[in-house]
Amino acid sequence: MDRPHRIGWIYAVPALGLFLLFMLYPILYNIIRSFSNSKSIFANYSALFARPAFESSFANTLRWVVFSGIFEIVIGFILAMLIEFYIVRGRAFYRAILFLPMVVTPTVIALVFTTLYAPDYGAVYGLVRAIGLGTHFPALLSNPDTVTYALIAVNVWQWLGWFVLLYSVAISQIDRGIIDAAAIDGASGRRLWTQLIIPMVRPMTYTLTIFAIIQALQQFAIVYIATNGGPGNSSQVMGSYVYKLAFVDNRVSISASLATLLFGLSFILVGFVFVLAKGRFTISTGTAE
């Protein structure tokens, strides 16, 4: 008989090693450093909370999670449903074109949208003027009230295709016979959607929710390039503020406490969806229990 389980670990060690070096060690480093302060163990956290930019970055990160997530999931589902249920020819075309923004470099996207949003020469202004909606266009990126939403719109624009594609795959895997049978039994259009189709793609919705949360928490490039967190700190997110604290302000320990909070926030939000989902996910057979 083989005794593979002993030597088998050799195969797993390199992957585990990289995880320990570049994931676990940095997390532990940040946790330990965030609580290491000669005055008190919470001194770094108090210093962080005392900074006005912290509140802004925390609130904006939550806005990113909520609004990115809702728009990506709702619009993604509607477009996928139209593609799968109403389109005979052209499905692959729609999915492919909608997915294209996903592959464009985020730094490029940030600069393209900065120009698109420009009040005098941007194409959004040009369009507003062309359809006669006025000759003034608000400077979305220099107004503290609009800047975060303008950037979230960029993110939704970029990632929508991923949500359409995955929902599309999930809907196409539904057995059409079940839907037909329910329709013949007299189920109306609305009941078909709320009681049959939406529940059947729910595992994908959980997966995509987790995806949207993590992707929103990851935000850095678009904010950093388009506004550098400004005006003031009004568009700062936790990802960009970690960078600013550590590399611009040289406050590595305070940055470590923000990084630890971000890590905690990710686990709380993802954990919440996990509890809701009770193990019903779609990614691979590896996780579906």
Partner: protein
């Protein structure tokens, strides 16, 4: 919603939505608007890269007159441009190769060799999926600084592989778990080593899963900006996403040149995507994602 069941126009659609022409036209209309919104920023970018100094500030989405190639000829003169391209190619291809090899070996150990603690190992590595990059960024930079990893290729390849490996193991282990083991057992009885079972029997079965991982990891490492910004501070080692930073300030007076650079940065991921997209979607539908 459509409440009427009309005569079958296509077998591909379920009865409930085998609907009259109007709702299908409506669906096409909505999707065409979505497609236009989705593609216009990219068209806008390419269009500005061909505009001259005057039309560059025109607020139209597309300007048809006065196209010029001069933006490209001036930015291509920059001797640093090839560095960005070469660095990105080296980093992205090495990351893809390393991720696939390491994830394949680990998935094999967990799914086939049933190593002791394999399940725990899988759960631990999977947690990496939920770790935002910002929460590990600074310690990674400090660590690389101590061991001489700043401004080196492996200083990016290592963290990129570590970031991608959880997703890769999820997909590859998922594919492995869905295949029966009879072929491998037969090969083992014939005296094949585990390594040759892996390369000759298992790899050919899970090509779609490996393909999804390769495409995903290539696009991620080609486009990644956050780590590249802090790890590659020496111009000669910088990757493509950093290139626009050099054109943003001085070239703001000349948007045409900035947008020529932006178009050049985007060319590789877009061409790669257009080449592989059919297979990528097929792999997602067929094997890599299971309900």
């Amino acid at each position: 919603m459509v409440r009427h069941i009309f005569k079958a126009k296509s077998d591909k659609l379920p009865a409930v939505t085998r609907s009259h022409g109007l709702s299908r036209i409506g669906a096409h209309l909505v999707l065409i608007i979505a497609v236009i919104l989705s593609i216009s920023p990219t068209i806008y970018m390419i269009d500005i890269s061909f505009r001259n100094a005057v039309t560059a500030f025109d607020p139209s989405l597309i300007v048809f007159s006065g196209s010029t190639l001069s933006n490209y000829t001036s930015v291509l003169k920059n001797p640093d441009l090839p560095h960005f391209f070469i660095n990105s190619t080296i980093v992205a291809l090495s990351t893809v190769t390393l991720t696939i090899i390491l994830a394949l070996l680990a998935s094999f150990a967990i799914s086939r060799l049933h190593i002791i603690g394999g399940r725990v190992l899988f759960l631990i590595i999977s947690t990496a999926l939920f770790i935002p990059l910002a929460s590990v960024l600074v310690p990674i930079v400090l660590l690389l600084k101590n061991i001489g990893g700043l401004n080196t290729y492996w200083g990016l390849i290592g963290p990129y592989t570590a970031i991608g490996i959880a997703f890769a193991i999820l997909i590859i282990k998922g594919a492995l778990d869905s295949f029966p083991t009879e072929l491998e057992e037969a090969a083992r009885l014939d005296g094949a080593s585990w390594l040759s079972v892996l390369t000759r029997v298992i790899v050919p079965m899970i090509i779609p899963a490996l393909f999804v991982v390769a495409v995903w990891q290539f696009l991620f490492s080609w486009n990644e900006f956050y780590l590249a910004l802090v790890i590659m501070t020496n111009l000669s080692k910088e990757t493509m996403p950093l290139a626009p930073l050099y054109y943003e300030g001085p070239f703001l007076a000349e948007p045409g040149q900035l947008f020529a650079i932006l178009s050049l940065v985007s060319v590789v991921p877009m061409v790669v995507y257009l080449l592989v997209q059919k297979r990528f979607v097929k792999a997602l539908e067929g094997g890599a994602l299971k309900g």
